[in-house]
């Protein structure tokens, strides 16, 4: 057997980050870029960029309004994107897919439409200490108007969710459990199957923030049996300004509109307006048509690579990164429980995260520094912030190596 054959046999079939990297024009236009900030926003493959551009060039018109054929075609593509998102989450019906601006808007939609109407004084919304601000602040905003109580389940010493404490905090008062599937600040993976089962036993609905999980894991909302699932398009290699709210059909049908306008009505008179059925009830005004179509292309791109292959890649690279970085003197990985995926949050002795990120940038290593919109978690961990490297489908060992070398250089400067 030749050396070339040997190499071909040991490589994971069909998944080659170096080949994938060539699909992303940003890397050709920024030679040497070591991009380790996909958790903030992922780069876009040419397929997505071209899809948006082609759509505007050949098929664009407003949706659901025109009688003419071009508008019908545009509507078909937009609704086709909804079907692609349905498949991506394995939802039962595309009527359960609402296009929103992103996960933040999705959670706000649930808070203002479902929360404002179904939460009563004393009802509890149970989150965790691992949440992004987007899954904390909307509940605080409606707290005054509903009288809800916001409670947070703690992390344990390992940095993962303390599931026993979570279970103890569930009660008849718990009406909603809103948790992240994968903590954006540390990479801690939460046991959402158990969380959903326990929450349902207590009679609570469950919202899953899938922002970091959707680009990395297979998601099956029917198998999970979650009531709401949200994710952002720009973190799944799609355009900015588009995201998905999944909700069970019966729940969506019980929810009043979030915003009023065109496209969400059945009939309008000055006395009374009747509203469309979901999902259009929640999509007032001209939607982000090209965003939805670009997102669908991104989700197809992910599916073509294979969700299992992506997970295996992220697991492998996470393991490699933990091993490589934890060997550097003065570098500590922030605890992320028993299961860490795709995100490596670093606490480097004697160097403030912002100083570190500036030095890493000099080595063309792009990372995120700060509190990662998770200030309660940083307070809990006793850190003002961390330096976070996050992985994507285009990263490989050489990116981790470049980060490691830059960390060593930074340690020399601050020595």
């Amino acid at each position: 057997m030749s050396a070339a054959n040997l190499q071909a046999n040991t490589a994971k079939p069909g998944f080659d980050p170096r080949r994938i990297k060539r699909d992303f024009p940003i890397f050709a236009n920024n030679p040497g870029l070591v991009f380790l900030d996909s958790a903030a926003s992922a780069q876009k493959p040419a397929a997505v960029i071209d899809r948006v551009s082609d759509f505007y060039r050949t098929d664009y018109a407003n949706v659901h309004r025109g009688v003419y054929r071009l508008s019908a075609r545009s509507s078909e593509l937009y609704e086709g994107a909804r079907e692609t998102a349905r498949k991506f989450l394995n939802a039962a019906s595309s009527d359960e897919i609402v296009f929103v601006r992103g996960a933040t808007e999705a959670i706000n939609l649930v808070a203002y439409s479902w929360g404002m109407n179904f939460l009563k004084p004393g009802d509890e919304v149970l989150v965790t200490e691992l949440e992004h601000h987007a899954n904390i602040v909307p509940w605080q905003l409606i707290r005054e108007r509903t009288g809800l109580k916001l409670v947070a389940a703690p992390i344990d010493a390992s940095g993962g969710l303390d599931l026993a404490a979570f279970e103890r905090m569930l009660s008849k008062k718990t009406k909603l459990v809103a948790v992240t599937q994968l903590a954006n600040a540390t990479g801690a993976l939460l046991p959402i199957e158990a969380i959903i089962r326990l929450a349902h036993q207590a009679g609570a609905k469950v919202l899953i923030d899938g922002c970091q999980a959707a680009p990395r894991l297979s998601v099956d909302v029917r198998a999970l049996d979650c009531d709401f699932y949200v994710f952002s398009g720009h973190k799944t290699y799609g355009p900015t300004g588009i995201g998905v709210l999944y909700a069970k059909k019966a729940i969506l049908e019980s929810m009043p509109p979030f915003q009023g306008g065109g496209d969400m009505i059945e009939q309008v008179t000055f006395e009374k307006t009747t509203f469309q059925h979901p999902p259009h009830r929640f999509e007032a005004g001209t939607p982000d048509i090209s965003g939805a179509i670009g997102l669908a292309r991104a989700l197809d791109y992910i599916d073509d690579l294979g969700r299992d292959a992506i997970l295996a890649h992220e697991e492998h690279l996470t393991f490699y990164g933990v091993d490589r970085l934890s060997k550097i003197p003065g570098v500590r990985l922030v605890n992320a429980g028993q299961n860490r995926l795709g995100i490596l949050s670093l606490d480097v002795q004697g160097i403030h995260p912002h100083d570190l990120a500036t030095i890493l940038d000099q080595h063309k290593v792009a990372v995120r520094a700060g509190h990662h919109c998770a200030q309660p978690l940083m307070d809990r961990l006793g850190l003002s912030g961390t330096t976070r490297a996050s992985l994507g489908i285009y990263n490989d060992e050489s990116d981790i190596d470049a980060l490691a070398e830059a960390l060593v250089q930074a340690r020399k400067i601050f020595g």
């Binding site: 004697g350 100083d355 500036t358 030095i359 509190h371 003002s384």
Partner: protein
């Protein structure tokens, strides 16, 4: 620009061992500075004697740039008049933001002080870090103006 130009020894030294890093017993003015982007916080304490900055100190947590800037600020402003301090901040701010007038050379007798602050001007190549270098100065200005307040960088 090389990072060593930004992280010169004087910055690293003041970042590690900030001068006047304490609260004043009897400040006449105080203000808090807060950078919501990174969570950095600084409290500036000022004791005025008439029009003279009798004492100046700070406390807080921050990156090397913001700590060094606060430390150097307390050193150069102590003993100055309020008017001279304001003049110095104006020139320093213009330098770190890269808005310095090319033909204008300061002739107010503060050239040596500006020279001391020169290592901080490396941040002008890093727009995201300008706020780090000016946080304590904004807090100082707010303390002068309002006595007891919190200022934010954005």
């Amino acid at each position: 620009m090389d990072t060593r130009e930004l992280y010169q020894d004087i910055i690293l030294d003041h970042g590690r061992h900030p001068r006047n890093f304490r609260a004043l017993a009897h400040p006449t003015h105080t203000a808090q500075g807060h950078n919501p982007l990174c969570g950095d916080r600084v409290t500036v304490y000022l004791e005025l004697d008439g029009d003279t900055i009798k004492d100046l100190s700070f406390e807080g947590r921050g990156c090397a740039i913001s700590t060094a800037s606060a430390s150097l600020m307390t050193e150069v402003l102590k003993g100055k008049s309020v008017a001279a301090a304001e003049e110095l901040f104006k020139d320093f701010h213009a330098r770190v933001t890269g808005h310095e007038h090319p033909e204008k050379h300061p002739s107010h007798g503060l050239e040596d002080d500006l020279e001391r602050l020169d290592p901080l001007t490396g941040v002008k190549a890093y727009p995201a870090r300008v706020k780090c270098a000016t946080l304590a100065w904004h807090a100082f200005e707010a303390a002068l103006k309002d006595g007891n307040v919190t200022v934010k960088t954005e």
